[in-house]
């Protein structure tokens, strides 16, 4: 027997329920909105170089989101998702990792990918599903992925990456190469069965994985008050026997500090960690969503005061690591760069017809070959009806 089958607890002889809200969970805060540090706060490991890289990533994030929403409104792009107001959660956590650590994200963590060094044109090629997209134009915009950067390709079904992260991290442990996996998801996805399966598998099999929940208050229109009744997502980590911490998700230093500590624990002890980052989704769920139908401008304005990028800027200026001149210059340059990149990516050819049949299997089946041949004949007969591929048929 590996463990005690029956653990003796304190005996009671009258009915005494444990209250569902009795788990008290503190929240780690290091940086105040004005850029000052809380008294006695433990600072993360950070120097000017790392701080500047993080801040430039945040700036890129904000500008890309802003410009791509505008491009979608202009009809140039089919779909986009911003992470407005919660950029610090993904960027701050990614900054705590080693480049060899695997990132398995949900879909609103482009900040982590930016921090890893995914280039502007790579973002664009994916969003415009052109033939230079690493994903070969097969998924909707924002479903990025890069083997080179250890960023697992995004999949739309919610929460599926959670048990996968447990398995990926278990494989890392077997290899013994001192790396871990970080797995991002929202508080809504944490209602999926895969969340419970994944946390339990990771805990039981001692996988070095950081489960990073971005609790941004909304799942499309559903507020977190209608998503769960317990004390956030963090209380569940405790239930699965996993070390757990809640942080202010708009506090870049708190996110960085917690993730640095989580990574150390995961790798040194072969164990999962849960981080719940509290934030607010200032933007719409996606460009297909309109939040005015389910929340007020007043509510949004209240949370806008907690802007994580402004908070970091205030700190950077107080550190004398940044100034207003640099601020103006970087935002101006980024806006120009993004606009120019859109113009390039949107006119690059779409993938060929043949490529649609690649990667279903390692080698196409006879059925796929037959279907490709039939389809080619059909398109040759009616080329005007299939303008994307007709001109480039082999």
């Amino acid at each position: 027997m590996d463990a005690e089958m029956y653990q003796e607890g304190r005996s009671i002889h009258q009915v005494e329920f444990i209250d569902g809200h009795s788990v008290e969970i503190p929240i780690l805060k290091i940086l105040k909105q004005d850029g000052s540090i809380y008294a006695n706060a433990d600072l993360p490991e950070i120097d000017q170089e790392l701080a500047t890289k993080i801040y430039k990533t945040l700036a890129f994030h904000r500008v890309l989101d802003e410009r791509m929403v505008a491009s979608q409104r202009q009809g140039r792009l089919s779909f986009y998702m911003t992470a407005l107001g919660e950029e610090a959660a993904s960027v701050g956590s990614a900054a705590a990792l080693d480049d060899k650590d695997m990132i398995m994200a949900q879909y609103r963590e482009q900040g982590a990918l930016m921090f890893r060094g995914f280039r502007l044109e790579q973002f664009m090629n994916q969003m415009f599903s052109n033939e230079l997209d690493l994903g070969k134009g097969r998924q909707m915009p924002i479903h990025y992925g890069s083997q080179e950067l250890n960023y697992m390709t995004i999949s739309s079904p919610l929460g599926t990456q959670i048990p996968q992260a447990a398995g990926y991290a278990y494989g890392q442990k077997l290899k013994g190469n001192q790396t871990c996996t970080i797995c991002y998801f929202g508080e809504g996805a944490a209602s999926e069965g895969d969340f419970h399966a994944g946390l339990n598998m990771a805990a039981v099999h001692k996988a070095p994985v950081i489960f990073f929940c971005r609790n941004n208050g909304y799942a499309i229109s559903t507020p977190s008050s209608q998503q769960y009744m317990g004390n956030g997502i963090a209380s569940r980590g405790v239930g699965y026997g996993i070390k757990t911490i809640r942080v202010d998700g708009n506090d870049i230093l708190a996110v960085l500090k917690a993730t640095q500590a989580a990574r150390k624990h995961a790798i040194e002890n072969d164990a999962p960690v849960v981080i719940e980052a509290m934030s607010y989704r200032l933007g719409a769920h996606s460009t297909s969503d309109d939040p005015s139908g389910y929340r007020t401008k007043e509510e949004e304005a209240k949370y806008a005061e907690h802007d994580p990028i402004l908070r970091m800027k205030n700190w950077m200026i107080a550190q004398k690591w940044w100034d207003e001149e640099q601020e103006t210059a970087i935002f101006e340059r980024l806006r120009e760069d993004v606009l120019a990149a859109v113009k390039v990516a949107e006119v690059i050819d779409k993938p060929t017809l043949e490529s649609m049949f690649d990667d279903v299997y390692d080698v196409p089946t006879p059925q796929l070959n037959e279907q490709l041949a039939d389809l080619k004949e059909h398109i040759k007969k009616y080329p005007d009806a299939y303008p994307v591929t007709a001109g480039r048929l082999k």
Partner: protein, 325 residues
């Protein structure tokens, strides 16, 4: 050569696979020290350690999610779902994740190392939830391979091929045959091809097509028909996805008749797909309508299991009806 039953052949294949590759890992419910409820993974934990052969919590979606992640990482997961009837909580992980992993990432990532083993089928008084044959659900999913062995020799060779194949494979094991089917099996390593049917017995009057445990049924029916002077060609499809159209079509061009037998319910069963394809490829060769002898469109019964099964008598009747059409 050694005499093995189907379970021993599977256990032997798993041992070879785990021996050749340090990153091959077997897991599932009760798979560890206990060796699985049918004992397919017996002694593997003792031989390869608790990190490489272990019990999981009771969570099929967790098992498959974990397996997908492990395969994406580069390990070789061989996951067991205790009964195919319990695979459905993992349906999303298999259909939306395993099957599409390579495609959706443009081959940046893949789970080609993944093998899912699961016992299927009736004949053990298992009722609704220990008897189902769910291959057709998965056959509708590009990106998966589906394999079903009919005897110990086939099981070992096909399982080794499935484990080494660079695509996710669901390996359905006919649990009725686990101990009932025995035969000579080479002790050394060998593989049998995926996606390739096998002509088990040559014949001239009608083609009988099946897979897994139903191959025994077809053999019995063929013997009965032989006594009536009807020569049956017997084909084991072996792979449901992708399936070997050419071997089946070549046989039907010769015999002019086709009967397909499977345990799963008739409506929406894989026999429908085969029939549609073969009438397209062999329309002018057909002497009679393609016949399907399948499970009924009821849930799998318990007390009337014998009545439900597409047995040799039903198959024999259908052969004669086809011949006399």
């Amino acid at each position: 050569m050694a005499k093995m039953n189907l379970l021993q052949a599977i256990n032997n294949a798993l041992e070879i696979a785990m021996h050749e590759n340090d990153s091959a890992v077997c897991f599932g419910e009760d798979v560890g020290h206990f060796g699985g409820v049918f004992r397919a993974t017996s002694n593997l934990q003792e031989k390869f350690g608790k990190n490489r052969c272990f019990n999981t919590p009771l969570t099929e979606q967790g098992i498959m999610g974990f397996a997908n992640g492990l395969a994406a990482q580069g390990s070789v997961p061989i996951a067991e779902i205790q009964f195919a009837d319990y695979i459905f909580p993992a349906f999303d992980q298999i259909v939306n994740e395993s099957a599409k992993f390579r495609y959706r990432s443009g081959n940046e990532f893949n789970v080609g190392n993944l093998t899912i083993r699961t016992p299927y089928g009736g004949g053990i008084a298992g009722g609704l939830y220990h008897s189902q044959s769910p291959e057709a659900y998965f056959a509708h999913t590009p990106g998966l391979k589906i394999v079903v062995p009919r005897n110990p020799y086939q099981a070992k060779g096909l399982l080794l091929a499935a484990i080494r194949d660079k695509n996710p494979v669901i390996f359905f094991e006919p649990k009725k045959l686990y101990r009932a089917s025995t035969g000579e099996v080479p002790e050394e390593d060998y593989q049998l091809p995926l996606g390739k049917a096998e002509v088990v017995k040559a014949g001239t009057d009608i083609t009988l097509l099946g897979w897994g445990a139903q191959m025994e049924t077809l053999e019995k029916a063929a013997d009965m028909a032989q006594e009536k002077g009807v020569s049956c060609e017997l084909i084991d499809l072996r792979s449901i996805l992708p399936w070997d159209v050419e071997t089946v079509a070549a046989s039907v061009r010769k015999t002019g008749r086709l009967l397909i037998n499977h345990e799963a319910p008739l409506t929406g069963g894989f026999a429908g797909e085969i029939a549609a394809t073969i009438q397209d490829k062999c329309f002018l060769n057909l002497e009679s309508p393609i016949s399907r002898v399948c499970g009924l469109d009821t849930p799998f019964p318990l007390a009337q299991e014998k009545e439900y099964m597409p047995d040799e008598l039903k198959t024999f009747e259908a052969i004669m009806a086809s011949i006399n059409y």
